[in-house]
């Protein structure tokens, strides 16, 4: 198999602290480029000061404003549409572009670093951008999936930044001044706290040649502690409208803050085997008309919390939650079926390297990143059922249920 040679992964740390990660795809004609800053909505402290909720997201918006030129117009000259998003732990600025000459790619990188490294925080622009974010808040409020997920996190992690939406609140945004933004920017937006991720037809040598021309200033190396969020143990009383169609979000927060990548991967395979679309659980619940094809789950391992959550439309939410929990606790994994789950994982993993966007998703997948993912193949091939059961027992030993729902009809 020549999979590894076709997807060469290299990582390099520059003197100024910037980490560069590259997946070489010599046959591709496009690039995926991301500049990831490890600053998100759960970063609420710096130098013993507190950061109002929504600061990271507002910062992301504001970086697109420059004093006397428009950054969008620069990218537009290259026909590139640049965008960004904020998560609990990072802010990601990204674009895709075509393979042309070296100068074209070099200029696109130059504009990206300009976007992220040259802030301009004026009171007038802050005021205007907050009004845009208030409009964005209304859209999020009307998005039932986003609302149900936020409420689930708020229920499971009260008193933590997860209780508040990434966008912040109208009140918290009012507390943000240009001075505060500049101080927060100076602390978090430094090369040491950033990763440049590139996937495409370029070698590390060529990439370094492009990046080293930017002369990024080496800033003081601040250490940022990541607060760990633990769920609060509370008894659950399941309360739903009788025989009404609801959109249900439910899940269990888990205490394993130090779950290794291999343990997390083993548990994901356990979940797929027990609750995936080809599982006994899904067939049984579908045959009884309790759930349908919209049922899905996600295993979220962030730097500061771990959670499994599920979503479905149902008239019998109590039955869905009960059956899911019983299935998770059963540990009934057949060797034969598990071999297929593994084979399917390996296949999907290899196929994902056909898409630069899917490869990029490995880098942005919460706590773990591309270097972890690259090791998946060898590990999964050797994985045994007893190891998976053991991991499942460990991971799903202490947990807290949370649930939210929206009445559909």
């Amino acid at each position: 198999m020549n999979f590894a040679s076709e997807n060469r992964f290299t990582i390099k740390k520059l003197k100024n602290g910037l980490t560069i990660k590259l997946i070489e795809k010599p046959n591709f004609k496009v690039f995926n480029v991301q500049l990831i800053v490890h600053f998100g909505s759960s970063n609420i402290k710096f130098r013993n000061n507190s950061i109002p909720a929504g600061t990271a997201h507002l910062m992301e918006h504001l970086l697109f404003h420059k004093k006397d030129y428009e950054i969008d117009s620069l990218f537009s000259q290259l026909g590139i549409n640049v965008n960004a998003y904020t998560t609990y732990n990072s802010t990601d600025f990204f674009y895709t572009c075509l393979k042309r000459d070296r100068n074209y790619f070099q200029r696109s990188l130059e504009f990206l670093f300009d976007l992220v490294c040259n802030p301009y925080f004026s009171s007038e622009i802050i005021f205007k951008e907050i009004s845009i974010i208030e409009s964005e808040m209304k859209i999020t409020d009307d998005d039932s999936e986003a609302q149900l997920y936020s409420k689930l996190l708020a229920q499971l992690y009260p008193g933590t930044p997860l209780e508040t939406d990434i966008l912040g609140t109208t009140q918290s945004l009012k507390q943000i001044s240009s001075k505060l933004l500049q101080e927060v920017y100076d602390s978090f937006y430094q090369p040491e706290n950033m990763v440049l991720y590139v996937c495409g037809p370029i070698t590390m040598e060529q990439l370094l040649d492009c990046v080293e021309k930017f002369n990024l200033i080496e800033s003081p190396k601040n250490k940022f502690d990541i607060d760990q969020y633990y769920f609060k143990k509370v008894p659950n009383i399941l309360n739903f409208p009788h025989h009404k169609l609801v959109k249900l979000f439910y899940g269990w927060s888990l205490p394993q803050q130090y779950l290794s990548y291999q343990e997390a991967l083993s548990f994901s395979l356990y979940l797929e085997n027990m609750l995936g679309k080809r599982s006994y659980f899904f067939h049984k619940m579908y045959n009884q008309g309790i759930i349908n094809d919209d049922f899905y789950y996600d295993f979220v391992v962030e730097k500061n919390f771990t959670l499994i959550y599920f979503s479905c439309l149902t008239e019998l939410p109590k039955e869905v939650i009960y059956n899911t929990e019983m299935t998770l606790l059963s540990h009934l994994v057949s060797t034969e079926k598990f071999a297929i789950t593994i084979k399917n994982f390996i296949g999907k993993y290899i196929q994902s390297f056909d898409s630069i966007n899917e490869i990029a998703a490995w880098e942005n997948d919460g706590k773990y990143n591309l270097e972890d993912a690259i090791s998946s193949l060898d590990f999964v091939k050797k994985l045994r059922v007893d190891q998976v059961k053991e991991t499942a027992t460990k991971v799903f030993s202490d947990y807290q249920l949370g649930y939210t729902w929206k009445l559909i009809s």
């Binding site: 009307d142 094809d293 196929q351 559909i408």
Partner: protein, 419 residues
């Protein structure tokens, strides 16, 4: 890509490339349809997906997965204007990457024909479940403000061929469909559809060619539809102003729909001009609408324009504060004026051309794009492919955009006030 016409209505597309990690084998059944069958087709699609793959043939799927890494079967129902298709796609890891994943082509064919021709005796049992599910999904979709406003606009379309209903079918249509109707429809489609077969990432041996020929002779011994009917829907938005106070949503929404008079056709003549017109009007973050309404005036977080060739309309969608409808309305009018009067820098058109060119070239590198493009060439008469479209776009002038403006006429204006 090599195209082999096997007989009338049956095409075979072969691509022996090994650039990608995935190999694909796909069979499409393509047929003309209209809104009368939307609910039937929605239910049929659900039954094919679930009952074939998850129930009766479950063991065959498991066997197949055991043999082939990452093997996956997707059954999709797509709709383009007055033409629809069911596609059955098998994808798995390319044989060059995993030595222990060898297969015989005849296995794929056998596997696929069992799914396509499965006559599941448990369908009756699941039919009502599926019907309930389709209605539940429709209800859930309508809790999304954007979906709801488009759904509520549909009855205000004037349509000579009744195409102004959602592709899922309406609640009334879904309630009235009987299992026998769906089953008869499937039998009819099997007898009459055009067949496209895509074989991507493999080597075609004479043995494999023979297997395909046998498959077609055995199961499709008929002539497919003549699909030379133009991709055209006789539908246009009426001139109406609908103002409503919503009680369940926070955001206020403006949806302005215009009908396209004359030459607007998907991938038809002047398609490049239409793409550019939309791009500079409200197509991306550099467009007039985005720059004026969001960046300069902060009236809206989300504002964009788009072309719907299915509904024969151009529309502008914006979320905004409840008292700014007139202001945004005026900004939209100003944008038309700016294009009509050619009152913008030449760089704007140049940059928009570059952006669309990039988008088209980017699509070209996508794993499934070649397959999609072959399908559309077959369905859409005089289909302009990406390479020709890129050339056409370079030739578009400001006068062409003025001509687009002249083809656009006011239709439905919807103002929904949030809580």
């Amino acid at each position: 890509m090599q195209t082999i016409r096997i007989k009338k209505g049956v095409n075979f597309y072969l691509n022996e490339r090994d650039k990608f990690n995935t190999a694909i084998f796909q069979v499409d059944l393509v047929f003309p349809t209209n809104a009368q069958y939307f609910a039937d087709l929605n239910l049929l699609s659900g039954l094919l997906k679930k009952h074939s793959t998850k129930f009766k043939l479950h063991q065959q799927i498991i066997d197949f997965l055991e043999k082939h890494y990452g093997a996956n079967l997707d059954i999709d129902y797509d709709f383009f204007g007055t033409t629809a298709d069911f596609s059955f796609t098998l994808s798995f890891v390319h044989p060059r990457l995993l030595k222990d994943s060898q297969y015989r082509f005849s296995d794929l064919i056998n596997f696929l024909q069992e799914i396509i021709f499965d006559q599941n005796d448990r369908v009756q049992e699941f039919f009502e479940n599926e019907k309930k599910y389709c209605k539940n999904i429709l209800k859930d979709n309508l809790t999304d403000p954007q979906t709801l406003i488009f759904y509520q606009a549909l009855p205000h379309y004037i349509s000579s061929n009744q195409m102004n209903v959602p592709l899922s079918g309406t609640f009334t249509q879904l309630n009235s469909v009987k299992l026998d109707q769906v089953y008869d429809l499937w039998q009819h489609l099997l007898q009459t559809s055009c067949i496209n077969i895509y074989y991507d990432g493999f080597t075609l041996t004479s043995e494999n060619h023979r297997v395909i020929q046998n498959f077609l002779d055995r199961f499709f011994p008929r002539v497919g539809w003549d699909l030379s009917n133009p991709y055209y829907v006789e539908t246009k938005p009426s001139q109406a102003l609908i103002e409503e106070q919503r009680t369940t949503f926070k955001e206020s929404i403006l949806l302005q729909q215009y009908y396209l008079n004359g030459h607007a056709r998907y991938r038809g003549e002047h398609y490049g001009a239409w793409l550019l017109f939309n791009q500079i009007f409200g197509g991306d973050s550099e467009s007039f609408l985005f720059q004026e309404i969001r960046e300069k005036c902060q009236l809206s977080y989300e504002v964009y324009s788009s072309l719907s060739f299915g509904l024969n309309c151009f529309y502008v969608y914006a979320t905004l504060n409840e008292n700014q409808f007139e202001l945004v309305d005026q900004k939209i009018e100003d944008t038309f004026k700016k294009i009509k009067e050619n009152a913008y820098k030449t760089d704007i058109l140049k940059n928009a051309k570059e952006a669309i060119k990039n988008l088209l070239l980017y699509q070209n590198d996508g794993r499934l794009f070649d397959l999609e493009q072959q399908k559309m060439k077959f369905i859409v008469p005089n289909y302009i492919n990406n390479e020709d479209l890129i050339k056409e776009i370079q030739m578009v002038t400001p006068e062409d955009l003025i001509s687009c403006c002249e083809q656009i006429h006011p239709g439905i204006k919807m103002w929904y006030r949030g809580i």
